[in-house]
């Protein structure tokens, strides 16, 4: 029982980091209908920004944290401007966006390898390693902080989408971009906001990921799993992305804990395939009937 709860907390912690990443995929998908594979590169940069903020600039944690998330906000927007905007203007098919995204991902990853180097780097210890004793449970301080900050960030995001005018425009655009443009919504602004929001959260996720594991240029590959979480929950749906991420985090931790850690990475793809076969629109995705 204690082990079970321990695993559950671990799962929630990693699941909440996945959620920060997954909402980035989902936000972009909801408006532009393509899977933004450059997002992994942005997350990776977030991890590096945070790392150098703490080590090189010797910033306090909060400042490094902010540096990372604001930094990735701009990176995400720059990627949009360079790699997607020209395609948007030409109304290119979604595949060109995906390939362009793959190009951006290759570029970011190798830019880091070329300038910073391929080595693994370990974050300095920000929070004491000693776990918090909660009755029989020993909860990692880092896990707890990750969970709380992630939950707060996601709540703020959902409030932003639900309550503000810009958020409402994003919702409207996710139903029908063309109609929105005709109604006078500035879709370019909506798209920038979406990339900005996704980028900001990617920075947070990158820092947490780096703190929990290590920092290296191929972190982006692992973020593919958060993309799977977004598909699991239903691409384009924010609550779906969060739910899918948390479930994936928990399932992964349990598989690693009770079966074998070797299957940890495989399970995500097994879930992906199962979801696509059984319910391609995911848990919370819209099911639409085709019109001829």
């Amino acid at each position: 029982m204690v082990q079970f709860l321990q695993q559950l907390i671990n799962g929630l912690s990693i699941g909440s980091v996945y959620a920060l990443m997954a909402v980035g995929y989902s936000l972009v998908y909801s408006i532009m209908n393509f899977s933004n594979f450059a997002h992994g590169g942005v997350i990776m940069l977030g991890a590096y920004f945070g790392f150098f903020g703490l080590t090189l600039l010797k910033l306090p944690f909060a400042a490094a944290f902010l540096l990372a998330s604001v930094g990735t906000l701009f990176v995400a927007i720059i990627v949009e401007r360079i790699a997607y905007k020209p395609l948007r203007e030409r109304r290119a098919p979604f595949l060109y966006f995906i390939i362009s995204a793959m190009g951006a991902s290759i570029l970011l990853e190798n830019l880091v390898i070329a300038t910073i180097g391929p080595t693994f780097r370990t974050y300095p210890e920000v929070f004491p390693k000693a776990p918090l004793e909660l009755g029989p449970l020993a909860v990692g301080r880092l896990d707890l902080i990750i969970f709380i900050i992630s939950a707060v960030s996601l709540t703020l995001l959902i409030l932003f989408i639900d309550k503000t005018k810009l958020g409402k425009a994003i919702q409207a655009a996710s139903y029908n971009v063309k109609a929105c443009a005709l109604m006078g919504v500035n879709t370019d602004k909506v798209i920038l906001t979406v990339f900005g929001l996704g980028g900001f959260l990617a920075g947070i996720a990158g820092v947490f990921f780096g703190m929990k594991y290590t920092v290296y240029p191929q972190i982006g590959n692992i973020t593919t799993k958060s993309f799977i979480a977004a598909v699991f929950g239903g691409l384009g749906s924010l609550p779906g992305a969060v739910l899918g991420s948390v479930l994936l985090g928990i399932i992964e931790t349990f598989v690693a804990g009770y079966l074998s850690s070797q299957f940890r990475d495989l399970i995500a793809f097994v879930i992906l395939i199962a979801v696509l076969i059984l319910r391609p629109t995911g848990i919370m995705g819209k099911v639409t009937e085709d019109k001829a």
Binding site: I82, P86, S100, L107, A114, T224, L266, F269, L272
Partner: protein, 310 residues
């Protein structure tokens, strides 16, 4: 640059070409996009290596002839693609894409866990059987097979599926069947490419068949031009050579590569050949199309009444 070095690049290009031609059928002619073909290459590579590796040096090998390795590697990839197709070909648009990504990565992760073939550490001791001549013959067979297929009712049916799926159905084309056949053929090509790759590198590792490799194949197909066999051939040679030529820049070459990919997508989406073929009949066809367009325009002008746009 000496001949062995150039020959090495050409061999790698020739191996890539086989996989790219297969993907060209699926993507360029049938309109289905895959991000999992590296997985089929992996199946070909491992099955092929298993068949041909000498049991004396590597306990896991069977020590059978190379030709058998090629057949088995291609067949294994084709068989797996059949099952993947059964469950994913009915998915719409980018969900098929995502499914292939999932399957491709799953195949790689499975090989990571097969300790018999070295797991994630890789498997050395694959015999060096991919000769320049063997690759050249395979490429010629691959091109002729594909060109003849595309210029037949079967190929035209695949193109119809790419152009307009519903109209294809209504024209009596079994869309699912043609998608399936296209997927299987492309997977066999990828599998055969994998066999050659394994016997060229003599060392294989699941990492070599990652999502990046799948993406690279799709990029080459698009770079060459969708629906053009000559484009795929040129694309495979140019894009395999490009990173090698840039090798002098070591660290920066993949940065350039990534930038080039974005640039290609952003600037010239029709690809090198843009659907036309660099053959006498292909050139005649394009000339005839241009001519017809000019005549049609002239005819409309002569009638004095421009057709209304709708």
């Amino acid at each position: 640059m000496d001949w062995t070095y150039i020959q090495g690049i050409l061999m790698l290009a020739g191996i890539n070409m086989i996989a790219v031609l297969g993907l060209s059928l699926l993507t360029g002619f049938t309109g289905l996009f895959s991000f999992g073909h590296a997985g089929f290459m992996a199946i070909g590579a491992y099955v092929g290596a298993w068949i041909s590796a000498s049991p004396a040096s590597t306990p896991a090998g069977l020590g059978l002839p190379f030709v058998l390795a090629i057949v088995a590697g291609g067949a294994a990839a084709g068989l797996v693609s059949y099952f993947i197709g059964r469950i994913s070909l009915n998915l719409k648009g980018d969900y098929f894409c995502i499914a292939t990504l999932g399957f491709g990565e799953a195949i790689r992760l499975i090989f990571n866990n097969v300790n018999r073939f070295g797991g994630a550490r890789g498997w050395p001791g694959v015999p060096s059987k991919s000769s320049f001549l063997a690759i050249l013959i395979a490429d010629i067979v691959a091109v002729v097979f594909l060109a003849n297929l595309v210029k037949s009712r079967h190929g035209r049916n695949m193109i119809a599926v790419r152009e307009e799926e519903l109209a294809a159905q209504i024209a009596g084309i079994d869309v699912f069947r043609y998608k399936m056949i296209s997927l299987i053929i492309s997977a066999v090509y990828a599998g055969v490419a994998g066999v050659f790759f394994a016997h060229y590198m003599t060392f294989i590792q699941p990492k070599m068949f990652s999502l990046t490799k799948s993406t690279e194949l799709t990029i080459i197909v698009i770079f060459g031009g969708l629906g053009s066999i000559s484009g795929s051939v040129l694309g495979a040679i140019l894009l395999t050579a490009l990173p090698e030529i840039l090798r002098a820049f070591e660290m920066w070459r993949l940065v350039f590569y990534g930038a080039a990919v974005i640039l290609i997508m952003v600037s010239r989406p029709k690809g090198l050949m843009g659907g036309m073929e660099l053959t006498p009949s292909g050139i005649r066809k394009v000339a005839a199309e241009r001519n017809a367009l000019r005549e049609a325009k002239a005819k409309l002008l002569a009638e004095g009444s421009g057709e209304e746009e709708d």
